[in-house]
């Protein structure tokens, strides 16, 4: 045990505390690592988004200068019936799509979280829809849903249902049909996230539960569900944002029709901006969508925090 007497600190001429140089250097090295990606993000996403916030208060048709109109775009939104329809449809879709996809992907993950032979094959199969071309998906599902000649309705009629729904050709059934297809498409992706979560649960917990005499269902509710909570939270947030942003599938499957039965916010933004050249108005609708997404996400974070205690 050697004790060294520290020399009396001499006031260095430098103003910096020792070690700060290293810290600065480390910060710089850190920045250089994220810089390539960040530059791309800033130029292609961040800056355009900030510009969008400005454009929402202007009237701009792409050529020439944007004219400042203040809150006029937002006032127009209040009386725009088509915007209300799009808002309603987006909410309706999210209400159907979120719980359904959560249930199906978690169910799949539980099914495929076993040590059976060939389980890898089935996991891959469940993931296929997610990586298939969206246009192909839309064409094939449209054919399956065809009111007169489609296999879905042929099957329903064989079951003795006389008037099966018209699916994508009926204003009532078009949205449920789209929600079904998007659930089928997304389930593989969220299943993977759940699988990762399931495999991170320590086996000892199940063993302990089994020793205490818990049956399968009790084990699921008291071990799996609480341990999965971080994963479930992440999946729900991602799924919610994705649901409110739904665009591609609607565009290729129903194009908002019949009438405006499946017109959603993203599509309305596209129409107003890229078809009708009202970029200011489209930006205002985009801000509404942004506010909805951020509000729902913050709300979910708060609930998650409260449960963490």
């Amino acid at each position: 045990m050697a004790t060294t007497v520290a020399p009396a600190p001499t006031r260095a001429p430098r103003q910096r505390p020792p070690g700060s140089r290293l810290k600065l250097r480390n910060t710089f090295i850190g920045w250089t690592f994220i810089l390539p990606n960040f530059i791309g993000f800033a130029v292609l996403t961040l800056v355009p988004v900030l510009i969008l916030f400005y454009l929402a208060f202007t009237s701009w048709n792409v050529f020439g200068a944007a004219e400042w109109v203040g809150l006029e775009n937002f006032q127009d939104l209040i009386t725009d019936r088509t915007f209300h329809t799009a808002l309603r449809n987006t909410g309706y879709y999210a209400l159907m799509h979120i719980p359904l996809t959560l249930a199906v992907s978690l169910g799949l993950a539980l099914l495929l979280n076993t040590k059976l032979r060939g389980v890898a094959f089935f996991r891959t199969v469940a993931f296929f829809p997610y990586i298939t071309s969206i246009v192909a998906i839309a064409v094939v599902w449209n054919m399956l849903f065809s009111p007169e000649t489609g296999p879905v309705n042929q099957f329903l009629m064989a079951l003795g249902i006389d008037n099966p729904p018209g699916w994508t050709t009926s204003t009532t059934w078009a949205m449920p049909a789209v929600a079904l297809v998007s659930t089928w498409r997304d389930m593989g992706y969220y299943m993977l996230l759940f699988l990762a979560g399931l495999q991170a649960i320590p086996g000892e917990l199940y063993e302990a539960a089994r020793v205490d005499g818990a049956n399968k269902i009790q084990r699921f509710w008291n071990v799996t569900v609480p341990s999965l909570r971080p994963t479930t939270f992440f999946v729900t947030v991602m799924l919610t944002i994705a649901s409110f942003k739904i665009f591609d599938l609607i565009l290729v499957m129903t194009d908002g029709g019949p009438g405006t039965a499946t017109l959603v916010l993203s599509q309305y933004i596209y129409r107003k901006g890229f078809e009708e050249q009202q970029f200011g108005y489209a930006s205002a609708v985009a801000i509404v969508l942004f506010v909805i997404c951020i509000t729902v996400t913050v709300f979910q974070f708060l609930i998650n925090k409260r449960r963490d205690r």
Partner: protein, 434 residues
């Protein structure tokens, strides 16, 4: 360290300047005062160049007459053409001349100051050029049309004979057409064929285009669309009677009109004049069956207009980017003068395009194409009609057409009655456009 910060700051500043430089469009007003002296190359935008030869045909024919000016055709995406062109114009990277694919977006370019005044070229054109008026706003012309399509009624002569129904004679009204469609369906079914009497493609134009062109007091911009009613009632009735494929089957099975008529699934089809060249090509390649066909004037509202049948279609024209230099502008004006000439029309007619001029010489060239029906009614249909533009030139046109498009899918899918669908569309027009 400091140096690094300075350098990155300089780099960011430089990048910003470059980006800013990209987006500032030069705006020199050239009234075509320049003179073409030496060798000039000018660029023209086109789409799907492998299947759409018309741009190259115009460029080559012009170069033959003017060896010192070369027209280079640049390819754009067919479906996203307008989006790409608007972006390029805004960024200052657009070609010297660009094609106005439809009238719907013409006003975007014209109102945005992206088209050079070409009135001097228009003043020298012959009187028989169709579609110039569509490009004229407040007595200033902004583009020169090179093709002017028109909607016809195509019919399969073999299926008419099989069903024992009299072929169109050029005097048909829509009621005659509906009667024939039902008689054809019944006759074909009796002859053991499951072909339908007619095929109406899923576009809103097939119903609304005719109504806007033919109905009394029709005005798309008025937002008062009661005049669409009889047209929709007829279309829905034909669908309900099974005389045409219903809209649901058409959309869910992604039917194409080329295969419906080309493989004899339907005896009649209202369609634009561009289909003549397509059908000839497909019959030659074997994509379509070999059968006898012809085209007749579009059915009319009543028999008062059968002498000069009223039909519709937008012209296709070429305009000049105002950002070009004086010399390029002058060369482009010369090209546009050629585009509106009979020589250009004949060159286009040779490849089956319906040019903006359909005089006797051009008609003769068009009907010289191998395999084309040469009966008198087809020739009359091609050369004589009153063609109205589908899209009025107005800033609200696209928004109104979108509302009407929604009404079309709602009515044709049977989700609402024609009356309710049109009432809903009128409400939306009042609330959105007001």
């Amino acid at each position: 360290m400091k140096r690094t910060i300075m350098m990155s700051a300089a780099a960011v500043a430089a990048a910003t300047l470059v980006l800013a430089g990209c987006s500032s469009g030069t705006d020199n007003d050239s009234g075509g005062g320049g003179e073409v002296t030496g060798e000039v190359t000018i660029t023209l935008a086109g789409w799907s160049l492998t299947t759409t030869p018309e741009f190259q045909v115009l460029a080559d024919a012009f170069h033959e007459e003017n060896p010192n000016i070369t027209v280079e055709v640049l390819e754009y995406d067919a479906t996203e053409y307008d989006t790409q062109m608007i972006a390029d114009l805004a960024a200052g990277t657009a070609p010297d001349m660009y094609v106005l694919k439809n009238l719907k977006n013409f006003v975007t370019y014209q109102d945005g100051g992206q088209l050079l005044d070409v009135s001097s070229v228009a003043a020298e054109l012959g009187d028989d050029v169709n579609g110039v008026d569509a490009y004229t706003v407040d007595d200033v012309t902004y583009a020169i049309p090179y093709r002017q399509d028109a909607w016809y009624l195509y019919y399969n002569q073999d299926l008419f004979d099989a069903a024992g129904v009299a072929q169109p004679d050029g005097s048909w009204t829509w009621d005659d057409y509906a009667t024939a469609a039902e008689a054809l369906t019944a006759g074909l079914s009796a002859a053991g064929s499951d072909a339908k009497g007619t095929y109406q493609h899923g576009w809103q134009s097939v119903v609304q285009g005719f109504a806007n062109a033919q109905a009394d007091g029709a005005d798309l911009l008025s937002g008062d669309w009661e005049y669409l009613m009889p047209y929709y009632e007829r279309a829905v009735a034909l669908q309900d009677a099974g005389a045409q494929v219903d809209f649901g089957t058409l959309t869910t099975n992604s039917l194409t009109y080329q295969s419906q008529f080309g493989t004899q699934q339907a005896a009649m089809m209202p369609m634009g004049s561009w289909y003549v060249a397509t059908l000839l090509a497909q019959q030659a390649s074997g994509e379509a069956d070999a059968f006898n066909w012809a085209f007749a004037p579009a059915p009319q509202l009543d028999d008062s207009t059968t002498g000069e049948p009223v039909t519709f279609a937008d012209p296709t024209g070429i305009g000049i980017n105002p950002a070009v230099s004086d010399e390029v502008a002058a060369a482009s004006m010369e090209f546009l003068t050629f585009v509106g000439s009979e020589a250009a029309a004949s060159a286009l007619a040779e490849i089956g395009i319906t040019p903006a001029i359909t005089n006797d010489a051009v008609t003769e060239t068009f009907f010289g194409i191998e395999g084309i029906p040469t009966d008198e009614l087809s020739q009359f249909t091609f050369s004589t009609h009153d063609v109205r533009p589908e899209n009025p030139v107005d800033l609200n046109t696209v928004a109104l057409q979108n509302i009407l498009g929604d009404a079309h899918t709602a009515i044709m899918s049977g989700s609402v009655s024609p009356a309710d669908g049109i009432a809903e569309a009128m409400d939306r027009a009042a609330s959105e456009i007001g």
